[in-house]
């Protein structure tokens, strides 16, 4: 058996164990352990997706989904793991949009975990129609992104304060998988009253 194959199976197994651990922590109301287990599992999910994308085996399954529901679900999941305030603003989001829900969820969850690390009091999940795109935006009220990240968001680097950069690298790759009628998805990093991660997806 190749190392990569064994690694993929091991990731699968560890994720199952983390799921059980998360279940126990949730039942006890232990937010910190729950957060630790879920975040670790999310890291492994990204690693697995990265591996599959590199092998060319990442199937992308774009279908109609409800953006407001995705945010409601993510917010509910996060609320159990943090004492920060999680706000949702989907008033101007379209009812339906086309995307691969599992992949988009993974990208947004990563952005939310990053925001949780830097926010002072609040993170906001904002979705709205933006021209011919759907905009998913994750905002925090922390110190904002360092300037060199804003210039080159998708660059992979050695382990730093922001991790390996795999999350952002995958985010831009996943965004690019979403294309229709000559338009392609993309990510943008902005600093306003904190950091804002933007994911734009064409219809």
């Amino acid at each position: 058996m190749e190392f990569t194959e064994l690694a993929a199976l091991t990731i699968h197994d560890v994720k199952n164990r983390l799921a059980i651990l998360a279940g126990r922590a949730e039942a006890k109301g232990d937010a910190e352990t729950l957060h630790g287990a879920l975040e670790a599992a999310a890291t492994l999910t990204r690693l697995l997706v990265f591996y599959k994308a590199q092998k060319g085996a990442l199937g992308v399954d774009i279908d109609a989904h409800v953006p407001a529901e995705l945010f409601a679900e993510l917010a509910a999941e996060i609320a159990r793991q943090t004492s920060l305030t999680v706000k949702i603003d989907t008033d101007h989001a379209p009812t339906l949009w086309f995307y691969d829900e599992a992949l988009i969820r993974m990208v947004l969850l990563n952005a939310i975990y990053n925001a949780l690390r830097h926010a002072r009091t609040t993170i906001t999940l904002f979705a709205a129609q933006h021209g011919t795109n759907l905009l998913f935006e994750i905002r925090d009220d922390g110190p904002g992104f360092p300037p060199d990240m804003i210039d080159q968001p998708a660059r992979m680097s050695a382990l730093s304060r922001e991790g390996t950069g795999l999350g952002l690298h995958l985010a831009s790759q996943v965004a690019a998988f979403h294309h229709n009628q000559g338009q392609t998805g993309r990510i943008e990093l902005k600093n306003a009253d904190g950091a804002a991660f933007c994911l734009l997806l064409p219809q």
Binding site: N16, A19, G23, R24, T45, L48, D61, E69, T95, L96
Partner: protein, 540 residues
């Protein structure tokens, strides 16, 4: 949230082979207030619960021990109508699953849930899906009943609201148009849907609609382009393979399916499809190779199919391994109650026993295969029984079965050739020409007799004669369409009769589905119109 969904009355089944996951899920459900929870560790045990409990929600892990997976379990439940469309089926996986692209739409779960998830997320998903089932309850019921015209009308109501279920309902409507035999409307509908976005399901639907309309070339083009863009869409390969097979390009069909198999190597459906094509080609070694794996994999699982055993037994007999075939077939018959009197299995066994030199056992197997009404069986099964009859010297029985087959499939030259070659192989070549001619002649006589009656003003008698014949020969489009027309003509002249109208409509629909370009359909539609005008005018 202000409104709390009441889960206490919802019955939930958990199927997971890992004990810790089962108890974790159970704890999550109980924290949501679910009280009626059944837990199962394997498919066999789970199926047992279906005999006593009606579940509202099924939570099933994708990976199950014992050579099966959640997808196979779901396909089993759906294809045998063990669960209706109103039941929520959630597939739990540890990673993003690609089955959604690989699987036929009717066998898709309602949702995938990626581990790990919190009780909160589970709750929201269940709420969301139960809400959807509520909204689609009528559409689901009508689909379960097979009332496709009703489904279309009900879908149109929901589509008018342009809500979040729009795309789900579009998918259902397209499918219903195809099942209702409205090929032209389906082509138009899918083309319209594709202007929204080139959704793979709509492209596949378009290909099916084109096929139904007889536009085989267009259908093949649609599918080839689709496979180019979506190489994982197994259903596209399946349909493309079928189209080539129907056009007699068995070699091409086989290579398409083998190509699909390299992408989805574990799919039982693929092995089965390959076996079917190889059988058409007469390549029984390939049939044996494909089905041997399927039978080994499903041997002790509830997912085993009797047809696999029959097909494998036949292939073994054809390649001269009749002893192996006999062992396989006898084992199936003695180990599985449901197989004991299966007509196909019995017919295949008769041939195998005959070849293996066991005439008494062959005789007994043949008798089992003919216990029921052979004329009601699908063509391929009836054909196998006829072969078994010829093998064991029962010419008269064979002829009567073959005659019925010809009359029920008067246009199918492929089947006629098969019948001729079977008769030739069994030393009755001289018979074949006459048998086909006479069988078709009988039908022409029947039609002529009915026309004479009608001309003599005996419309009800003519309609009755043709209705009887149509019920006996549901595959004979000439008879079925004439029966519909005769019934309508009778109603038009002699007054409305709800039973006759219903019967005529069901014949009309049968023709629409099996032969959407049949010339008689226009006349039938015209008669329907005239009846409507005549009797609605009378009401005013």
């Amino acid at each position: 949230m202000a409104i709390l969904t009441n889960y206490s009355n919802k019955s939930v089944l958990i199927l997971d082979d890992m004990p810790e996951m089962r108890s974790s899920l159970r704890a999550q459900l109980s924290s949501l207030g679910c009280e009626k929870v059944t837990v199962s560790g394997n498919v066999k045990d789970a199926l047992q619960h279906f005999t006593t409990t009606r579940f509202d929600v099924i939570l099933c892990d994708y990976y199950l021990a014992g050579g099966t997976d959640g997808q196979q379990f779901l396909e089993y439940l759906r294809t045998r109508n063990i669960i209706g469309r109103g039941v929520v089926f959630i597939m739990i996986t540890a990673e993003k699953n690609y089955e959604s692209v690989v699987t036929a739409a009717e066998c898709l779960p309602d949702d995938y849930l990626l581990k790990p998830f919190t009780a909160e997320v589970l709750k929201m998903r269940m709420e969301r899906l139960l809400e959807k089932k509520d909204r689609l309850a009528r559409v689901d019921q009508l689909q379960d009943k097979g009332d496709w015209n009703g489904v279309i009308a009900s879908c149109n109501d929901i589509l008018a609201a342009k809500d979040r279920y729009m795309v789900d309902v579009m998918r259902i409507k397209g499918n219903a148009l195809l099942f209702a035999g409205q090929g032209a409307e389906a082509v138009e509908f899918y083309r319209q849907a594709l202007t929204l976005r080139p959704m793979p399901w709509a492209r596949l639907g378009l290909a099916r609609a084109q096929q139904q309309q007889g536009d085989i070339k267009g259908s093949i083009e649609t599918l080839e382009a689709l496979i180019g863009d979506e190489p994982r869409l197994m259903a596209a390969y399946d349909l493309l393979g079928k189209l080539h097979l129907a056009s007699g390009h068995t070699e091409t069909a086989l290579s398409i399916l083998e190509n699909a198999q390299t992408i989805s190597p574990n799919s039982l459906a693929r092995h089965r499809a390959i076996a079917t094509v190889a059988e058409k080609k007469g390549d029984y070694a390939r049939v044996e190779q494909a089905l041997d794996q399927v039978v080994k994999k499903t041997r002790n699982s509830p997912l085993r199919e009797t047809r696999d055993i029959a097909q494998l037994g036949k292939a073994l007999t054809e390649i001269g391994e009749s002893a192996k075939a006999v062992t396989l077939l006898e084992e199936a018959r003695t180990n599985f109650k449901s197989d004991a009197n299966d007509p196909l299995l019995a017919a295949v066994e008769a041939i195998a026993q005959h070849q293996a030199g066991n005439p008494e056992k062959a005789e007994a197997a043949l008798a089992r295969s003919m216990q029921g009404d052979v004329s009601k069986l699908p063509a391929d099964i009836a054909m196998t029984i006829a072969k078994a009859c010829l093998n064991t010297g029962k010419q008269t029985e064979a002829q009567s079965i073959l005659k019925n087959l010809v009359q029920n499939n008067p246009e199918s030259t492929g089947l006629h050739e098969e019948i001729s070659s079977v008769l030739r192989d069994n030393g009755a070549g001289a018979l074949s020409e006459n048998l086909i001619k006479e069988s078709i002649g009988e039908i022409i006589q029947l039609n002529n007799a009915a026309v004479l009656r009608a001309k003599a003003g005996e419309l009800s008698i003519a309609a009755e004669m043709l209705t009887d014949a149509a019920n006996r020969l549901p595959g004979n489009m000439q008879v079925v369409s004439n029966a519909a027309a005769a019934l309508l003509f009778d109603v038009f002249n002699n007054g409305v009769d709800a039973d006759k109208l219903r019967q005529a409509q069901s014949f009309q629909q049968a023709v629409q589905v099996q032969a959407p370009t049949h010339p008689k359909l226009a006349e039938i539609a015209e008669l329907m119109n005239r009846i409507r005008q005549k009797y609605s005018a009378g009401k005013k």
